[in-house]
């Protein structure tokens, strides 16, 4: 509505005279004309016909019975909607806060157990790696360089490909494509088992290694309360490595498993070549020694023979070491005994029975889901509600303007 200029003192006096005239009070003599105008206006006010007055009187007395009945909408009390809104918002906030605290507690418990959530998540990957690793090992002999068959990068304990020992660079002339491949294999395995079965599983590891003709190079077993951890440094005949790993994996819940493959053919060939050369040199020296005539020649040849023999011994040991690396695969096995039935569960509260703590955890989870659904519903409903409100306000304003326009001259 347009704001008008305020009245001047004279205009205000005239307005006051109009009010006094309407109320029947006397006005100043110089404003009698206005008083008379007010009286004339009051006197000329249209009046109802007696018939209409009687009809209206009857309708009012009867509560307008002839009017079309309209459906009665029961309006909620004014305080109900805001109260419901505040209550819903408080409930959602409470659940979100509690849910956040619950997640923090779960993380803390997991860490306190000595196992990270990624350990649990890595278990299926380890299972997948089992097949992948076997496939990779079969393809290994044809591989020209280092091959890694480790797990996905998501595993916290999976060594990065860069960690694999690369094959030593060898002169191209020394590599023989027709030489048999020498491959060194290794594996890391982490198994969890219930605490109650920790000792028997440790024994089973050793029995399994024996069964596959392997050796336990080193082992350490420790126990602290309900938790136990054992480390085994194993050597398994390479030809039986896959079967041994499969058997070991059955001893508990595999929470992590990685395999590594390293081609040591070039190293082996290099040693072999140098060994052949050294032998040939020794043969030549021996022949020369047989033909030597002076003491000086004999002494010189014997000294060179000693050097060659030492070289032969070193190269022989080196070759034997490489051969052992190819024949026996290294397996690092970690066995963990954890509280619980499955041995693989790291969920807080996981135990032999469904405890009130478990129930509270489940209830909180249900509330979290409900809060999430409520938030999504609010995210949809609030903009729609605001849009509806804006449309309703706009329609009301438009209707009011159209009504006011009815007073404009045609």
């Amino acid at each position: 509505m347009r704001r008008l200029d305020p009245l001047t003192p004279d205009e205000a006096r005239e307005l006051d005279a109009l009010e006094r005239a309407l109320a029947g009070d006397p006005v100043d003599p110089d404003l009698r004309e206005l008083e008379q105008l007010v009286h004339d206006l009051r006197a000329t006010a249209p009046e109802m016909t007696p018939a209409f007055a009687a009809r209206l009187e009857r309708d009012v007395a009867d509560g307008f019975p002839d009017a079309a009945p309209r459906p009665k909408l029961r309006r909620p009390r004014r305080w109900v909607l805001p109260a419901v809104g505040v209550l819903a918002a408080a409930l959602i906030a409470l659940v979100v806060v509690l849910g956040q605290n619950g997640n923090d507690a779960a993380t803390f418990t997991s860490l306190a157990d000595g196992s990270s959530p990624t350990v649990t998540a890595a278990a299926p990957e380890a299972a997948a790696d089992s097949a992948g690793g076997a496939a990779a090992s079969k393809a290994a002999p044809a591989a020209p360089a280092t091959v890694t068959a480790n797990g996905s990068a998501g595993s916290a304990r999976t060594p990065a490909p860069a960690a694999a020992v690369p094959a030593p660079a060898q002169p191209q002339a020394l590599q023989r494509s027709d030489a048999p491949r020498k491959v060194q294999r290794s594996a890391d395995l982490t198994i969890t088992t219930p605490s109650a079965k920790f000792e028997t599983t440790s024994d089973a590891v050793i029995r399994t290694v024996d069964r596959f003709g392997g050796i336990v190079a080193a082992s350490s077993i420790g126990r602290q309360g309900a938790h136990g951890e054992a480390s085994f440094d194993l050597r398994i005949p390479t030809g039986r490595l896959d079967d041994a790993l499969a058997a070991l994996s059955k001893l508990g819940h595999v929470s992590e498993r990685t395999q590594d493959l390293q081609d040591i053919t070039s190293s082996f060939t290099s040693v072999q070549d140098r060994l052949t050369e050294a032998r040939a040199e020794r043969k030549g020296l021996l022949a020369a020694l047989a033909k030597a005539t002076t003491q000086g020649q004999i002494d010189s040849l014997k000294a060179r023979l000693r050097t060659v023999r030492a070289t032969l011994g070193r190269l022989g040991a080196e070759r034997a070491s490489l051969q052992r690396r190819a024949d026996l695969s290294r397996v690092s096995l970690t066995l963990r005994g954890v509280k619980g039935k499955s041995g693989g569960a790291t969920t807080p509260g996981a135990g032999d029975h469904w405890t009130p703590g478990d129930a509270a955890h489940d209830a909180l989870r249900v509330l979290e889901v409900m809060a999430g659904v409520a938030l999504i519903a609010l995210a949809i409903a609030v903009p729609l509600g605001l849009l509806g409100l804006a449309i309703a306000l706009g329609a009301r304003s438009l209707r009011r303007r159209e009504r006011e326009r009815a007073l404009d001259p045609a």
């Binding site: 509505m1 704001r3 008008l4 200029d5 305020p6 009245l7 205009e11 005239e14 307005l15 109009l18 309407l22 004309e33 206005l34 008379q36 105008l37 007010v38 004339d40 206006l41 009051r42 006197a43 000329t44 006010a45 249209p46 009046e47 109802m48 016909t49 209409f52 007055a53 009809r55 209206l56 309708d59 009012v60 007395a61 509560g63 307008f64 009017a67 309209r70 309006r75 009011r400 159209e402 009504r403 006011e404 326009r405 009815a406 007073l407 404009d408 001259p409 045609a410």
Partner: protein, 170 residues
């Protein structure tokens, strides 16, 4: 603490008795014919009766609320017709047989009616609300959706226009 709203039939009956004549006079002046004025007046009372529970005393008087309902109904009627009310042609000729001593009074009132009918609709409505409906400036402000001082200023200017129209040569 606000007083509880009396939405009983007795309260509505009291409102009807206090406002019916004034309401009809306002509507009749705005619309300009008896039939439409009767329809709109009856409709306004019926709507007020049905919505009497929604009346909020904090937003104005019951009388102002009733006149607001009547105004909306009257404006809707005007929108339907899209014409301003031809008041002069339908004025009752009640002063035609007045005695000589009352002739001046009759002429004056006829002049006032004619001047009122000649006012633009907005000014005519203001005069009708104020002098036929008998609303206070606060009630006028409620009905028109403006401030009380603004309503007073507009009434003053409408009356001044009416006075000029009464003095204008016919």
């Amino acid at each position: 603490m606000a007083e509880p709203v009396n939405t009983s039939t007795a309260s509505f009956d009291a409102l009807y008795r206090d406002s019916a004549r004034d309401l009809y006079a306002y509507v009749r002046t705005l619309l300009g014919d008896d039939a439409s004025a009767e329809d709109v007046t009856a409709a306004a009372f019926e709507r007020a009766y049905r919505r009497r529970a929604s009346f909020d005393p904090q937003r104005g008087s019951q009388r102002g609320w009733l006149f607001g309902i009547a105004r909306n109904a009257a404006l809707d009627e005007l929108r339907r017709r899209r014409r301003s009310a031809p008041l002069v042609g339908e004025l009752p000729d009640e002063d035609a047989s007045a005695p000589d001593e009352e002739a001046d009074l009759a002429v004056r009132r006829t002049t006032v009616r004619a001047a009122l009918a000649a006012l633009p609709p907005r000014e005519r409505e203001l005069v009708a609300l104020k002098f036929h409906g008998g609303l206070s400036n606060a009630e006028l402000a409620t009905v028109l959706g403006t401030s009380e001082s603004n309503a007073g200023t507009r009434v003053h200017r409408a009356v001044m226009k009416l006075r000029e129209a009464c003095h204008a040569p016919s």
